[in-house]
Amino acid sequence: MAPSTPQDLASNALVNTFFNWDLILQTFPRLITEGLLNTIVIAIGAIVVGIVIALLAAMLLLSNRWWIRLPARLYVDIFRGLPVIITVMLVGVGLPAAGFRPFGTDPFGYAILAIGIISGAYTAEIFRSGIQSVDPGQLQAARSLGLSYLKAMRLVVVPQGIRRVLPAMAGQFVKDIKESSLVYLLGLAAGQRELYFIAQEEVARTYNSSPLIAAGLCYLCLTIPLTYFMNHLDKRLREGPKPGNPLAIADPHPQTPVPATAGEKA
């Protein structure tokens, strides 16, 4: 199947540059055995760091006092407003250079911290909006039972608020997974390489972009199922247990034909 016309040549070059299956298949084993795990570790680490920061920041953002809101507001505005690459470089290169080395010389920790800080800024606003959307009567009812503000928030308000923002959280998790590739900027040792790093090494070696396609497929294998899983979770929480559940159907008191929402107007 030797190319005969210039058009064939050009299109073959195009296909070869992006879809050289030999190269793609050759890259996959390392992507899967080394890259995938490292990407997942960085992403989960960043998500966890982000959620912890976000919960704290969201609570501060909900305060009535401006001087409590202020630090959280600044944090959110700054790290949502900065280009991701600047934050990653500031944390991953700047911090160690300034002598602040909580993770020694391991770029992994700095990458997780940097992406977690960025993620936290976005997630804080997601949480705040979710928590604010919970009926104030929920907090009143919890407090009227004697729960302290923090207990009422933890047991009653926050769980409801977070359930409402699951789809937005899915978007944030996807972003965190993608941004884990920025650890590339910090340099990685063998065994630490994540998806993008491995692909980029192959690209540099072969001058062919197919390994990037291979890495891209790996990212999609993470992000798309995650999105669908979160949407599924959201649907389940919205609609309650599956309609097959006998609890939802059997009515021990059949004399109450009024819909469950009765009285919630007014």
Binding site: G137, L145, G146, V156, R163, G240, L247, T256, A262, G263
Partner: protein, 252 residues
């Protein structure tokens, strides 16, 4: 809030003196002095906007009064260092819109404060919850979510949730106003049982029938003031206050 540290001479279950509250320039409560005697049912009636609900919410400090004192038995709730959470645990409240926790089962709605405020273990709390739910006729619904219940059932769960804490006083804030008419009577029946069982109750209501039959005393509020307080008989049959007569002619 002047610091009087001595408990009043004859402790009522709940005693309010000189309570005032305003939102900005709008005064909602003006110098209210009232007490809820132990074991009595006190109904608060009056036109909307008269401050009844705000007064009720001041009683467990869901609204913070600007001035005045509130005494729960021998405890001053408005003292600077008062343990408000501990006081609230002694006062049950039932809301117009039920405010059940939708993410928790009916049973967990009732046990939440038992375990997290009273520190009870889950099993003990479960027993209490099932007993309280049985009292309002809903023990079969313990595993349901609130959204699977009718409004009347939800409100009865809310009553069970408050009663499980064994409160000294129960506050009802228009507990039947959001219910469809045919569901009102079940909730009122539960409230009547409570009243006749000797529970101390302060009830904001538009149900004049309930006020007339179940109340020991009825307080009429208008324009943020306590205009009249007397027996149901006096209030409904021999009303003299012109605003009260006008109000009754509109609602009866």
């Amino acid at each position: 809030m002047t610091a009087v540290t001595r408990a009043p001479a004859t402790p009522a279950a709940l005693r309010v003196t000189g309570l005032s509250k305003s939102y900005g320039s709008h005064t909602v409560l003006r110098d209210i002095t009232i007490d809820v005697r132990a074991g009595e049912t006190l109904c608060l009636i009056g036109p909307s906007g008269s401050g009844k609900s705000t007064l009720l919410k001041c009683l467990n400090l869901l609204e913070t009064p600007d001035s005045g004192e509130i005494w729960l038995g021998g405890t001053c709730l408005t003292a600077p260092r008062a343990d408000v959470d501990a006081a609230r645990a002694r006062i049950g409240m039932v809301f117009q819109h039920f405010n059940l926790f939708p993410h928790l089962s009916v049973e967990r709605n009732v046990t939440l404060a038992l375990t997290s405020v009273k520190g009870m273990d889950r099993e003990q709390a479960r027993q209490i919850a099932l007993r309280r739910l049985a009292e309002v006729g809903l023990s079969a619904f313990a595993d349901r979510r609130p959204a699977q219940l009718s409004g009347g059932q939800q409100q009865r769960v809310a009553i069970a949730r408050a009663l499980a804490m064994e409160p000294e006083v129960m506050l009802f804030d228009e507990a039947t106003s959001a219910l469809d008419p045919e569901l009102v009577k079940d909730v009122l029946a539960v409230m009547r049982d409570l009243a006749s069982g000797g529970m101390t109750m302060a009830v904001v209501t538009h149900e004049m029938g309930f006020a007339r039959e179940a109340a020991d005393r009825v307080a009429f509020m208008c324009d943020g003031r306590l205009a009249e307080i007397d027996t149901p008989d006096q209030i409904f049959e021999r009303a003299e206050h012109p605003r009260l007569r006008q109000f009754l002619s509109q609602v009866l």
